[in-house]
């Protein structure tokens, strides 16, 4: 076990790989009086629970994607987020505890990103909740990453950017008082209507590994990268923003027809890329969508679902409708997303 004052062997503002999760939760607790952090169970809750009789939303996953998920706990979005070790799903006992705490009598929606570990751990959590409590649990598994092509021969598509939009929209549906089946249905609809694709210019470095997960030559980028540094579709020569935007948007548009409906578009930074580049990319994405006759009703540009210090970005497009747009616009008050409040 490394001690606090040791010199880190990588360029990260941490005390040690072993303490980074606990230390970051301490920072979250110190920064946000609106949140209550259960340090023993590594769960971030709203300080003030929602009204009784409303459906609660629980998500969680490996740490390293901040603000996801803890940054989306608050009015109009999640009720709690379980934090796993870096890039590692949280454990079933966390999901059980969180489920018990957040249930307000109307059941709990588990929002799970489609990774084997997350799915299995949430599954066991839900099994334990069913065995120990009478709490109704519904599950939505987000799998929106078009980078995974042969999804029938794999663990399926990964859950990435659409998770952010889903947590916002389902959160609004729950806040509005819809019942568990209806909130789960909205969540399912968002998942079916959202698609994402990402690019890495550099690898992330997992603190416990101490070195970059993969090595990208100076003149190459990884198209279709996952938010854990999983390799993507292919390595290609580095290109300008317009060409990168094309390589991200085209696979999305060929996967789903986005015409004829208002869309919500997110240009998401992966952690090491500054906002100025995200805006440059967003301009290019919009040019492509405009040319394709796709209507952009709402935009989100920033770091929302990250991969530690990876340089790169992802594009998410959600085919919405009036109901989804209204839910999107509803008030939200979290550290990561806030409006109308």
């Amino acid at each position: 076990m490394k001690v606090n004052q040791e010199v880190p062997d990588m360029k990260k503002l941490i005390n040690s790989p072993e303490t980074v999760l606990a230390d970051s939760l301490a920072g979250v607790a110190a920064a946000h009086p609106d949140l209550r952090v259960d340090h023993a169970n590594r769960i971030i809750f709203r300080a003030t629970p929602k009204a009784a009789g409303k459906v609660a939303l629980l998500s969680g996953g490996g740490t390293g994607h901040e603000p996801l998920h803890g940054g989306f706990v608050g009015e109009g979005m999640l009720d709690a987020a379980c934090a796993g070790a870096i890039f590692t799903s949280p454990t079933p006992d966390q999901m059980l505890e969180a489920t018990k705490v957040v249930d307000r009598g109307a059941g709990v929606l588990h929002i799970v990103k489609n990774y084997t570990g997350d799915v299995m751990n949430f599954e066991i959590g839900a099994e334990l909740a069913a065995a120990e409590t009478g709490i109704k649990v519904a599950v939505v598994v987000v799998n929106d990453d078009v980078a995974v092509e042969d999804s029938s021969f794999t663990a399926g598509r990964r859950g990435v950017g659409t998770t952010v939009l889903l947590e916002k929209i389902a959160g609004a549906a729950a806040e509005e008082g819809r019942d568990l089946a209806a909130v789960a249905a909205v969540a399912q609809k968002v998942n079916e209507s959202g698609r994402s694709m990402g690019v890495a210019l550099t690898s992330c470095t997992v603190p416990s590994a101490g070195k970059p997960t993969f090595v990208l030559p100076d003149d190459e980028m990884e198209i279709g990268v996952g938010i854990h540094g999983e390799p993507g579709r292919r390595r290609v020569p580095l290109a300008g923003a317009a060409e990168v935007a094309r390589q991200l948007v085209e696979p999305i548009l060929s996967d789903l027809d986005f015409t004829g409906a208002p869309t919500i578009v997110m240009l998401n930074g992966l952690g090491g890329t500054p906002l100025i580049e995200l805006y440059v990319m967003y301009a290019e994405v919009r040019k492509i969508l405009d040319a394709a006759g796709i209507t952009v009703a709402r935009s989100l540009v920033g770091n929302y679902i990250t991969a530690l210090d990876m340089a790169g970005c992802s594009v998410t497009i959600l085919k919405a409708d009036d109901d989804l747009l209204r839910l999107w616009d509803a008030p939200v008050n979290t550290s990561g997303l806030r409006w109308g409040i």
């Binding site: 590692t88 299995m120 416990s208 590994a209």
Partner: protein
């Protein structure tokens, strides 16, 4: 002969030795996971197994059930990721199948291990050739059973299992992953050993070494 049974203490020694091995090989396991996953298998296994060993040292188990149920629960609640539920279920099923006994005979051990394998399959749905820990676990247990059927004692059967585990581990290199995080790579997963296969091989190395020492 004493080698025809295995005691709770020996089984505790197995888990302790497994912890030593994953700790020794932590960088290797993480490196394998960097190539086709997310670079955390080493830290996942050491976090889990060191917690298991801490628990064993704090309060040694009296029965096989207690030992493996404790180890399984510890893994399930401390690892996360894919390996937590998979290794956790493996041990939980071993415990439940063995029951509250102080020793296991060879058939008892074999059927407990096979129940563990059943748990892994129930949880992860892996099939032969999917390039997962299953591709080590299944041939290792087949070799274990075959050795016992050929009237080996438990230590020899464990050595046979370890040998099959190594072969299974190395064979994952040529496979295209169809389960877990590595499956996202498609063709690009070929050429790399599966990290879970490598840690499972260490599990059988630990068993062989623990029993060999006596």
């Amino acid at each position: 002969m004493t080698n025809e049974t295995i005691s709770v203490d020996q089984l505790s020694g197995w888990l302790t030795r497994f912890n030593d091995l994953v700790t020794e090989q932590v960088s290797y396991l993480t490196e394998l996971d960097s190539a086709i996953g997310d670079a955390d298998h080493g830290s996942n296994m050491t976090r889990g197994m060191s917690a298991v060993v801490e628990k064993i040292q704090a309060s040694p188990a009296g029965t096989v059930d207690e030992l493996f149920t404790g180890a399984g629960m510890t893994l399930v609640t401390s690892v996360g990721g894919a390996s937590g539920p998979l290794y956790g279920t493996f041990f939980l099923r071993i415990g439940a199948t063995a029951g509250p006994v102080g020793t296991l005979d060879a058939p008892g051990l074999a059927s407990a291990l096979r129940a563990g394998l059943g748990g892994v399959v129930a949880r992860g749905k892996a099939e032969v050739g999917d390039k997962t820990m299953f591709d080590v676990l299944a041939p290792a247990l087949d070799a274990f059973d075959a050795a016992l059927a050929g009237s080996s004692d438990i230590p020899s059967a464990a050595r046979a299992a370890y040998s099959a585990a190594q072969t299974g581990r190395d064979a994952t290199q040529a496979l295209l992953a169809r389960k877990g995080r590595a499956s996202y790579l498609g063709e690009r997963s070929i050429g790399h050993i599966d990290p879970g296969a490598a840690s499972t091989s260490l599990l059988f190395q630990a068993l062989a070494e623990t029993l060999g020492k006596e």
